[in-house]
C-alpha cells in the first residue's frame, strides 16, 4: 500500500535575481522586475524589493506568494516593534528577525531567497544573505535567485573580496564609490539577462545613504 502523492506542488519558482552591495557609507539593493512561471512570463513589471524599515530593504526571489507573505509578516512585526520601542528597527535587528521568521517555517519553508540591505547604526552599508530556512551571515555583497550563479563570480572578481579566513578579519565592504557600485550592478544584470531566461525586462535599483533613499530603473532585454 503506497502512500498517495499530491498531483500538485504547493511551490512554484517565479524566477528573478536579486543583488546587494555594501559600501562605506551607502548600500545598493537591486532586483529585476520579471515574474515568470515555467516557460511563460506573467508580468514584466513586478517589484521584488520591499522596504521593511527606514534603513532596511529586502530583495527576494523564489516563490512569489511566499515572498509576499514573508514581506507582510516582517512589515507587521516592524510596525509592532515601532509601537513598543518608539523607534525604527536597525538593519542587524531586522536581519535576525528575518532569520527567525524563516526558521519558524523550517518544516514547510518559505521558498524565498533573500538579500537584506541597509545601513547599520554607524551609517555603514550592510548586506545580509540568506537561504530559504534562515541561515544567514553579514557580507560585503551578495546575489540570490536564478541569476546568482552568473553574477556572484563576477562580483568576486570585481570587488576583490578578502578571504574570510584572514586574521584579523578583513571587512568585505567595498571601497568603490556609490556611482561605481551602481554602475557595477547595472553591468551584473545586463550580463545575467543574456544567459538566464528568468532574468530581464528591467532592473529596479535602490540606493540608501546618509542623505536618504533614491531609486533607479534601467531597461533590460525583454527576450
Amino acid at each position: 500500500m503506497t502512500k498517495e502523492h499530491a498531483n500538485w506542488s504547493p511551490y512554484d519558482n517565479n524566477g528573478g535575481t536579486c543583488v546587494a552591495i555594501a559600501g562605506a557609507d551607502y548600500c545598493v539593493i537591486a532586483a529585476d522586475t520579471r515574474m515568470s512561471t515555467g516557460y511563460s512570463i506573467l508580468t514584466r513589471d513586478y517589484s521584488k524589493i520591499c522596504k521593511l524599515a527606514d534603513k532596511s530593504y529586502m530583495a527576494s526571489s523564489g516563490f512569489q506568494a511566499d515572498v509576499k507573505a514573508l514581506q507582510k509578516v516582517l512589515s507587521s512585526r516592524h510596525l509592532i516593534y515601532q509601537h513598543q520601542h518608539n523607534k525604527q528597527m536597525s538593519c542587524p535587528a531586522m536581519a535576525q528577525l528575518l532569520s527567525n521568521t524563516l526558521y519558524y517555517k523550517r518544516f514547510f519553508p518559505y521558498y524565498a531567497f533573500n538579500v537584506l540591505g541597509g545601513l547599520d547604526s554607524e551609517g555603514k552599508g550592510c548586506v545580509f544573505t540568506y537561504d530559504a530556512v534562515g541561515s544567514y551571515e553579514r557580507v560585503g555583497y551578495s546575489a540570490q535567485g536564478s541569476g546568482a550563479t552568473l553574477i556572484t563570480p563576477f562580483l568576486d572578481n570585481q570587488l576583490k573580496s578578502p578571504s574570510p579566513l584572514l586574521l584579523p578579519a578583513k571587512d568585505a565592504v567595498t571601497p568603490l564609490s556609490e556611482a561605481e557600485a551602481v554602475d557595477l550592478v547595472k553591468t551584473c544584470f545586463a550580463s545575467a539577462t543574456e544567459r538566464d531566461i528568468y532574468t530581464g525586462d528591467s532592473v529596479e535599483i535602490i540606493i540608501l545613504n546618509a542623505k536618504g533613499v533614491r531609486s533607479e530603473t534601467e531597461q533590460l532585454r525583454k527576450d
Binding site: 498517495e4 504547493p10 511551490y11
Partner: protein, 242 residues
C-alpha cells in the same frame, strides 16, 4: 475487525483525506484587459469533464460588489465556493452601512489571502482567478493562481490564455483602446484560443466594467475560418494517408 476503509480503497479515489484534489469540472482560459474607460474581460461558457465538454452554459464572469468583476478558470465547484465567500465579504462590507465599499484592489487582496491560506493547508481551491474593476477613476486588473501567486498588469490571462492570448496582447494592447477596439482585440484572442485550445467552446461572454457600472454580454459565437487550401484536399500528394 477489518477496516472497511481499506476494502473500499479501490473504489474511493482519495481515501479519507480531505486534502490533495483533482479538478473534475473545469473552465478554460479567461482574458482581461484595461481599456480607456475601464476593464474588459472575456471567457467562454464551457465546463469540461476531463476530455468531454459536459456543460455549455457556465457563466464564468461574475459581478462582485459595486466595483469589481471576477473571472475564473479551473474547477467550477470551487469557483462557486469562492462566489459564496465573496458574497459574504460584500454583505458584511455593506452592513457596516458607512458609505464605503470594497474596491477591486481590496477584493483581489482578499482572494489572494484565501487562495494562499488554502494552499498552506494542502487543500487548494483549484482555480485561476482574474479580478478587474474601477473605483474612483482608478482602473485595476489582477490575477491570482491556485497557490496564491498574484500580480496586477494591463492585461492578464489564465491557463492557455497565457500562451496564446498574452503574446497578441503584448503586441496590440494600448492604453487608450476604445470599447470597440478592446472587444475586437479580445475576440481576436478568443478566436485563437478556439482554434488551438481543445477545451474551448464557441459560446462566449464579454464583460465590461467602468466607473458607471458593469455589463455582461449575452452569450454569442465567433465566426471562424476553416477554408484553408491545405484543408480542402488533405491527402493530395500522399494518397492512402488520412
Amino acid at each position: 475487525m477489518v477496516s472497511s476503509q481499506n476494502e473500499n480503497r479501490l473504489l474511493s479515489s482519495e481515501g479519507d483525506s480531505q486534502r490533495t484534489q483533482y479538478p473534475y469540472v473545469t473552465g478554460t482560459s479567461v482574458i482581461g484587459i484595461k481599456y480607456k474607460d475601464g476593464i474588459l474581460m472575456a471567457a467562454d461558457m464551457g465546463g469540461s469533464y476531463g476530455s468531454t465538454i459536459r456543460y455549455k452554459s457556465v457563466e464564468r464572469l461574475k459581478q462582485v460588489g459595486k466595483h469589481s468583476l471576477i473571472g475564473a478558470s479551473g474547477e467550477i465547484s470551487d469557483f462557486q465556493e469562492i462566489l459564496r465567500y465573496l458574497d459574504e465579504l460584500i454583505l458584511h462590507d455593506n452592513m457596516w452601512d458607512d458609505g464605503n465599499s470594497l474596491g477591486p484592489k481590496e477584493v483581489h487582496n482578499y482572494l489572494t489571502r484565501v487562495m494562499y491560506n488554502r494552499r498552506n493547508k494542502f487543500d487548494p481551491l483549484w482555480n485561476s482567478l482574474i479580478l478587474g474593476g474601477v473605483k474612483n477613476g482608478k482602473k485595476y486588473l489582477g490575477s491570482v493562481s491556485m497557490i496564491g501567486v498574484h500580480f496586477e498588469d494591463d492585461h492578464v490571462a489564465t491557463g492557455f490564455g497565457n500562451h496564446l492570448a498574452r503574446p497578441i496582447l503584448r503586441e496590440e494592447w494600448r492604453e487608450d483602446l476604445t470599447f470597440e477596439e478592446g472587444v475586437k482585440l479580445l475576440e481576436k484572442c478568443m478566436r485563437n484560443l478556439l482554434y488551438r485550445d481543445r477545451s474551448a467552446v464557441n459560446k462566449l461572454q464579454i464583460a465590461k466594467i467602468t466607473e458607471e457600472g458593469l455589463t455582461i454580454s449575452q452569450p454569442y459565437s465567433l465566426k471562424t475560418f476553416w477554408n484553408f487550401a491545405a484543408f480542402q484536399n488533405p491527402t493530395v500528394g500522399a494518397e492512402g494517408s488520412w
